[in-house]
Symmetry: C2
DNA sequence: CTGGTGCGAGAGCACTGCTCTCGTTTGAGA
DNA sequence: TCTCAAACGAGAGCAGTGCTCTCGCACCAG
């Protein structure tokens, strides 16, 4: 790729990323409304009209930042999920959720950009939906492994409307066919609970109650894990037969933990 | 109150509310970024500088809209909670949550204004915190009545950090001294889950999965009620005729989820 | 009746996103 | 190696924004 790149193309690529960097810096300082095209041009020592060679409009620059933010958040969640010992499901769940919160706390304005109110007329480029799915997919990955290991306590479904039944069936077909609908529904609940909690913490809704939300967050994540059916605690020293069963069936393979949330 | 009001004061009051109405209209159409001071001045047939006699800055006008939005949402939740038969705890819980969602769907931009990313440098006037607490207080009210009636299944606390224990103790002291910390924590979780769910639906995070979120919402609300410890079902409602008199005019298919075909 | 005060209109400033034009630079094809 | 179109940055300019200041007019208490 780089071989056939002309100097102009290389300059264009580097300047494009420099523009995004400057915009990200302004975003981190002043929020989305404070990110001005003229401001980033000023920071780069160029004139504002020159920026339009790289981004046709301000919203396109913001969209690029959104895509990057989704990507960074997905990376954070997936690496946190991949780092933990694969059989320690409870810890994988917890660390994945923690990684999302840590990323949000470290990049509050970028988080607000993607999970706050949609800024323009809110178009969702098809590129973002795949990136946005990475966090819930990481969470589902833990549940799939728990189900495969036989340690997932399958909750009862309860009464389900036809629309919801169809939606969960379609979702299962594309995400995790072996997961029962009841687990999928609770995963969706845990997913929205996670981001609701983070948004509340970041946007100041917890000030009167659990303002330093660290311990509340961990507690809630743990309770939601139990709510879905993850085993209470990682067995300290699993019995040899259980261990053998765990490593014997091995549905996802062990070597590819680089991508722990493969979508089958 | 009108007695001691001079004509000038009356004119000022009515014009102030007219400005807010016009601003709310612009907000509903174009979102927070589209609400321009000059635009509302144009709509009212006045010049922009005249608006500064009523709101010293654009952010102050937005803040007024925020306070009003909190007020309207609190009203919606409290009336929904008050309409239901007081002993029907499950239905009170559900209808309160539904009222929040209905209000959010009816006023998406106002919802985004108060629960999306904070718009300006995010100051939270002391007036808003009391208003913002009304929804969770309505939910807690149901739990208090359940505890008083002896029908609240108190969940186990689990391990709790000292910070969290102190926070929940302080919260209980000011809100509901008789509620155990475990219930309070789960109420906080249900609260953030509710708004996380609504935000996801409004901001388009559910598009790939449960996009028409009606049935998923009801299902999740019900599961969270059980999660907190509310009794499974209202103990066989007191008398059908009373129920019919109370809920004769339910707008949306409310009576018994009759349309939801029960599929296992 | 009079003088201070609240009010709306208008001009103007600094800023924004965006468009258009004009020389210059670049690099691929002749 | 030369040529010419495409890409590029700079500048001017337009319409819009929030906000300030000044100026007359209308109100209302003294």
């Amino acid at each position: 790729m780089n071989t056939s790149q002309t100097a102009r193309e290389r300059a264009r690529a580097v300047l494009t990323s420099e523009i995004k960097d400057a915009a990200r810096r302004q975003l981190a300082e002043s929020g989305a409304t404070g990110m001005s095209l003229r401001g980033v041009a000023r920071e780069l020592g160029m004139v504002s009209s020159a920026l339009y060679r790289y981004f046709p409009t301000r919203d396109d620059l913001l969209t690029a930042l959104i895509v990057d933010a989704y990507h960074a958040l997905g990376d954070a969640a997936e690496t946190a999920n991949a780092i933990v010992e694969r059989t320690d499901l409870r810890r994988r769940w917890r660390d994945t959720c923690r990684a999302v919160r840590q990323w949000a706390l470290a990049n509050p304005h970028e988080y607000a950009l993607i999970y706050g109110s949609p800024v323009p007329g809110y178009q969702a480029p098809q590129d973002t939906v795949a990136q946005a799915a990475r966090v819930p997919l990481a969470m589902v990955g833990v549940l799939r492994d728990a189900l495969a290991a036989g340690t997932l306590a399958e909750p009862d479904t309860g009464i389900m409307g036809v629309v919801l039944a169809r939606q969960t069936a379609a979702l299962a077909a594309t995400i995790a066919p072996e997961l029962p609908a009841s687990v999928l529904i609770r995963a969706l609940m845990a997913w929205s609970q996670l981001f609701g909690m983070i948004s509340f913490e970041l946007f100041g809704q917890f000030v009167g109650s659990v303002d330093p939300a660290e311990q509340f967050f961990d507690h809630a994540v743990d309770l939601m894990a139990t709510f879905i059916g993850l085993p209470k605690q990682a067995p300290q020293a699993p019995a040899p037969d259980v261990l053998g069963a765990l490593f014997g069936d091995e549905p996802d393979g062990e070597a590819d933990d680089g991508d722990a949330t493969r979508t089958a």
